[in-house]
Amino acid sequence: MLNKKIIKQAFLELDKLLPEKTNILIGGGAALLILDIMPIATMDIDAIPFKSVIGSDELKPYREKVAKKLGLPHDWINEHFYQFTFCLPEDYGKRLKVFFKGKKLICYVLHPTDIVIMKLFAHRAKDESHVKYLIKNDSTDLEYIDEHLEECIDKNLPKAKEAQNYFHDLLRALGKI
């Protein structure tokens, strides 16, 4: 199981191996753990390389070397996170927080507001308690989420209407509207 200390150590090892400057974007449960929002038990880190020359293919051998050295699962960086990023707001970059800064590697973490948006689109039963917790968290901007979902509906983003309905249901259940 990963914890904040192990995650930092893994990125430190990765930093030693990388041949050039690389940025990594972290989301999902690991982001909540890193941001000290929720003590989530996670086996992998939802993360992707971004704004870097190094892509998934290039990252793989380094990722695997770190896994071997620290005894982590071979896919401790889970890049499948990429496939759900289409619903992120265009200004997500303004809210990123730096979690790790090494010689070559910088790891950024998504803001809870953006994580809620991704989880609303995914609409997984297992995530519901996390989403509720995040909605109650002061750093989550509920008004912004509502506006963004409206924009997504206008853009015809798949599942946007369902995400909005889900959001409103949760707000109602939590007595926020």
């Binding site: 974007l25 992707i48 704004k51 793989k60 051998p61 496939q83 289409f86 265009e90 689109f121 015809n156």
Partner: protein, 234 residues
């Protein structure tokens, strides 16, 4: 344990194994995936196709021409161990745009019957550099062959030789076409028939496209020739 995306040496070997079985590709034997059955090789290739889009076109072509040599129950068994077993559903939809023989349909029914698909949508291509604008374009103009299986992608994966077959591909439902039209009109204010056809990848005839535009609420047009311009009444 195979991890994705495959390394270059693994990918080259995979292409080699597919080539040996008659696929339209070329690889080099780097000693990976030796002694695997065709079905095992295909299951690996299906998973890898989300990282290597070219591979998807090769597989569509291969399944269309060689399905008779594939053991569907064995393949189904391997596919179910993949992280994205629904890729075979996408292959099925694209193969159907090229070939609808009853035998082929029976074959795919064995593979895709009761195949679980997630309720959520996800981007098909996972190996691309992260660019939010491009990703959102993928999501909003995704083709029905992907959407049916819970994926989002706006690229036609067919190999050139399959595209030459003078066939119009059914890529979007009427509702999806109207959404694309709405997006075009709100981005540019006015459009030509040609621009609309390009946006929907020529998936309907000119006459059909014209009817789509004329059915859009509040549309007006200038000119009656090929160069007609359509805009929204203000």
């Amino acid at each position: 344990m195979i991890t994705y995306p495959l390394s270059l040496a693994e990918l080259s070997s995979l292409y080699f194994q597919l080539q040996q079985n008659g696929a339209f590709c070329r690889g080099e034997n780097k000693k990976h995936f030796d002694n695997l059955s065709l079905e095992e090789v295909l299951a690996i290739a299906l998973e890898e196709s989300r990282w290597d889009f070219r591979l998807l076109g090769i597989l569509i072509d291969f399944f269309q021409k060689n399905f008779i040599h594939i053991k569907p129950f064995l393949l189904r068994n391997y596919i179910q161990k993949n992280k994205s077993p629904e890729v075979i559903g996408v292959i099925q939809e694209w193969v159907y745009t090229l070939n609808t023989s009853p035998d082929l349909k029976d074959f795919f029914t064995l593979l895709t019957k009761d195949l679980k698909r997630d309720d959520e949508y996800k981007l098909f291509n996972v190996g691309q550099a992260f660019n939010l604008k491009n990703i959102q374009k993928e999501a909003t103009s995704s083709l029905m062959q992907y959407k049916k299986w819970g994926f989002l992608c706006s690229e036609i994966p067919l190999l050139k030789e399959n595209l030459i077959a003078e066939k119009r591909l059914h890529l979007y439902s009427k509702e999806e076409r109207m959404n694309i039209l709405k997006e075009l009109l709100s981005s540019y204010g006015e459009i030509s028939l040609q621009e609309y056809l390009k946006a929907i990848k020529n998936s309907v005839t000119r006459q059909h496209a014209r009817l789509d535009i004329l059915s859009y609420k509040g549309i007006k047009h200038k000119g009656t020739t090929k160069g007609s311009i359509y805009s929204i009444k203000r």
